[in-house]
Assembly symmetry: C2
């Protein structure tokens, strides 16, 4: 076991693992291969960089290469792992103009995910973007700015400066399209409106933020319209049309001229690297792992957006690529590989998103069909209650959906949406889920009450009260 | 069992019980005796009425007598229950100029608590107030206002109009004192500063908000000073001096001239009514009850500020008089008396308070001596982390204290303080406590993350991570 701990991918999961390993274990080396130049950056912050609320791309970095070096991590950027041989326990690496084999003692595959654009003809045009990666964020912000005032950060060696400069030199669009109404689409609509642009958002289904359920989707749609976003729901985009760049969105019912299109229709795990190995994948396409993040091959781990987690409610594997669980799994694997086995933890699918002034949160199983597939008999309710005591100024109507299993009465999932401290309230439900609380136990929680922050019965408790009443008839 | 359900006290616990009972049970009457004129009001809102953020006292009512009537509750205001005979199953009531005996089938004692002013000579002077009750809130607000512009709500039959008018007619003070640095003291300091008054706060110990622990107390003290409150910590007040009204606070080291004093040094349960009955009280002086809110006498219940609850962490009875648990216990007892037994639920001692721009929360066992008394071996840590991703504007340093048991590693309690969504985060800990989570389980919760609302590792998770590290050495 003198061979190093090799990590493929230098973002949240990979560098969390390498950092924890380096801290816990003195004797063995840890090498991180990252095919790009950026490492350890906050993907979730890129819409706010485009909007202009974050000044510099480098503000989004959480661990610089220099800091990684200080931690004792051998970080090699622009080194792509192109093959894995689990029998020989080596990876083949291309970098610095050569290709070489690197033996490993333990291997962590933390290759992340990529934005999906198929099947969307025209998504390779100039002025068509996805939001996966720092360079595309830099390019979008440059594309929105006048050539004179465009921000081109050339004082760091990360950014793809020629790409950014190319977009900076174009005249900015006046009208833009967002294709896809998930997190990225909603956050980018806010960013574009922040630049005063006419913004069209196209969504194939009739709901925005579908993983957040109907109650959230409806309020977000109303709010986006209030904020001047032109919504095209139930509208399948067929093509991005244009020659020198995107000129129009062509959809089933017509054509909207735009000068820029942002495509956020989904992501897929990066697992090609393991295609020729015995490492098994889950039906989602992500790498299958056990409670310690280990794949079906001993000594080979996977974490972050390329791997599954165990779902807190179903107990089954689920692919829920999000930031906290990537960091957490990486950290636990670093510890495990260092000799102190630590479970990666379950995923409840807790997610929050800001949609202009609305805060949205969701956790657990919200979709009734999904709950039924998992063997539950779901029953749900949606209530709206104040975020503060009614007499205290500044409150907001807070809508809570709560889903439970009719038989066991266990809480399965829920959502919260409102303007006032709504997102953070989802943590109560996330904690309740992971503790297998019943609706009655949820109703009896001793939660915080003070007029400026919450009514006597927090909206989450109101939902529990109502759902319990409905279940008990 | 044709005798009615009789409730003594028409506030949170009493009217919650009566409402639930009336809804669940058609055949039996429910009579509520309230000795005052006000019923079902939000005590916690009174500081904001004094401050002027709430316009009218009647905004603080949650159930009007007319609405109680519609619910089928026989509500009799200005009817004082002066004796209970548990053998005869009657209460003696004084009201409408007569005294009569009222038989009961079941009895709920929901008599609340009263503000303690002993031993403080001078607390009966004019311009010396406690904040227990709507009339004193009305009087304080009137006392702060110019006689010409004082608010005297005479369009309702609740308020003690002569009292309020008397204070309205006095010249308002320029300098005020708050005696006591608990919730009421801190909230009232904010209210007085809101009127631009020179405000002196006297606290016997060296900490404000002592149930919230040192980390909260220190930040609140710094913040109150920033907000212009003159703090006199470690200062025992000996007397309120004056003749025609309060003229000075006399303390062990000197004398501060003031024109008004607000005394908030504690409350005590109203249990005199049961003194001559076999109903037992807890060492705190509050009425002892079981998991269903029933006292040691069959058919006699107690709830709200006059009764104990079972503590979620210790499993023992504890007197923690707060709004949510009063409402909740009342509601459960209403249901139980109606024939559908429902436990009142545990109390975790979750509390939140606004101190100017700071949000403070606490839950469970925070005090190490208290934890040791309950048989635990407490270990704790205090961390400070951002409330949002570091690059996202508007975040605030959030300080979390987490207490756990060294042996079982179970979370025992905690506190949170900060300016940005700090208070609501205590609900995560409150939920974790009631689920008996360990520190490692808390660390692995899948909590919400999005740059505008929380960093990748929520401050609560950071505290869990650090405490786990310290415990595992």
């Amino acid at each position: 076991m003198s061979d190093p701990f090799v990590v493929v991918g230098g973002d949240a999961a990979g560098l969390s693992a390498a950092s924890k390993f380096a801290r816990e274990q003195g004797g063995r080396d840890v090498i991180v291969f990252e095919r790009g130049r950026w490492v350890s950056y906050a993907h979730c912050g890129t819409p706010y960089y485009v909007k202009g609320e974050v000044d510099r791309l480098t503000d989004l970095l959480s661990l610089s290469p220099a800091a990684a070096d200080e931690r004792g991590i051998d970080l090699r950027r622009e080194h792509e792992v192109v093959a894995v041989d689990t029998a020989a326990e080596t990876v083949t690496v291309r970098g610095d103009g050569e290709t070489f084999d690197q033996p490993y003692g333990d291997l962590l595959v933390a290759t992340g995910a990529h934005a999906v654009t198929d099947p969307l003809p025209g998504s390779d045009l100039e002025m068509a973007f996805t939001m996966h990666g720092m360079d595309s964020a830099a390019a979008v912000r440059a594309a929105l700015s006048d050539p004179d005032s465009a921000v081109v950060e050339t004082d760091n060696d990360y950014v793809d400066a020629p790409l950014v400069r190319r977009y900076a030199d174009r005249a900015p669009p006046e009208r833009v399209a967002v294709v896809g109404g998930g997190y990225v689409g909603v956050e980018m609509a806010e960013a574009f409106r922040g630049h005063g642009l006419e913004t069209h958002l196209f969504q194939r289904s009739d709901r925005l933020l579908s993983p957040f359920g109907d109650a959230v989707g409806e309020r977000v749609a109303d709010h986006l319209r209030e904020q001047g976003v032109e919504l095209h729901l139930d509208t399948a985009v067929e093509e991005l049309a244009g020659e020198d760049g995107v000129a129009a969105v062509v959809h089933e019912n017509g054509r909207v001229p735009v000068g820029l299109a942002l495509v956020g229709i989904g992501i897929a795990p990066n697992t090609e690297l393991l295609a020729d190995t015995p490492v098994e994948t889950h039906e989602s396409g992500a790498v299958a792992v056990d409670d310690y993040g280990e794949t079906t091959v001993d000594g080979v781990y996977a974490a972050g957006d390329c791997a599954v987690d165990r779902h807190a409610v179903t107990g089954e594997a689920a692919w829920v690529p999000l930031g906290l669980t990537a960091n957490r799994a990486g950290r636990a694997i670093g510890r495990t590989v260092a000799g102190d086995p630590d479970p990666v933890g379950d995923v409840a699918g807790t997610a929050v998103v800001k949609a202009f002034d609305l805060e949205c949160g969701r956790t657990g199983l919200l979709d009734e069909a999904e709950a039924r597939d998992a063997g539950f008999d779901p029953v749900s309710t949606t209530i709206t209650a104040g975020s503060r005591s009614g007499y205290y100024p500044g409150g907001s109507e807070t809508t809570v959906t709560l889903v439970a299993d009719r038989d066991s009465r266990r809480v399965l999932g829920g959502s919260v949406v409102g303007r006032d401290r709504a997102a953070v309230r989802i943590d109560t439900l996330a904690t309740a889920l992971e503790s297998d609380l019943t609706v009655a136990e949820l109703e009896r929680l001793d939660l915080a009450y003070a007029p400026p922050f919450s009514p006597v019965w927090d909206p989450v408790l109101v939902a529990a009260k109502v759902l319990r009443g409905e279940m008990e008839g």
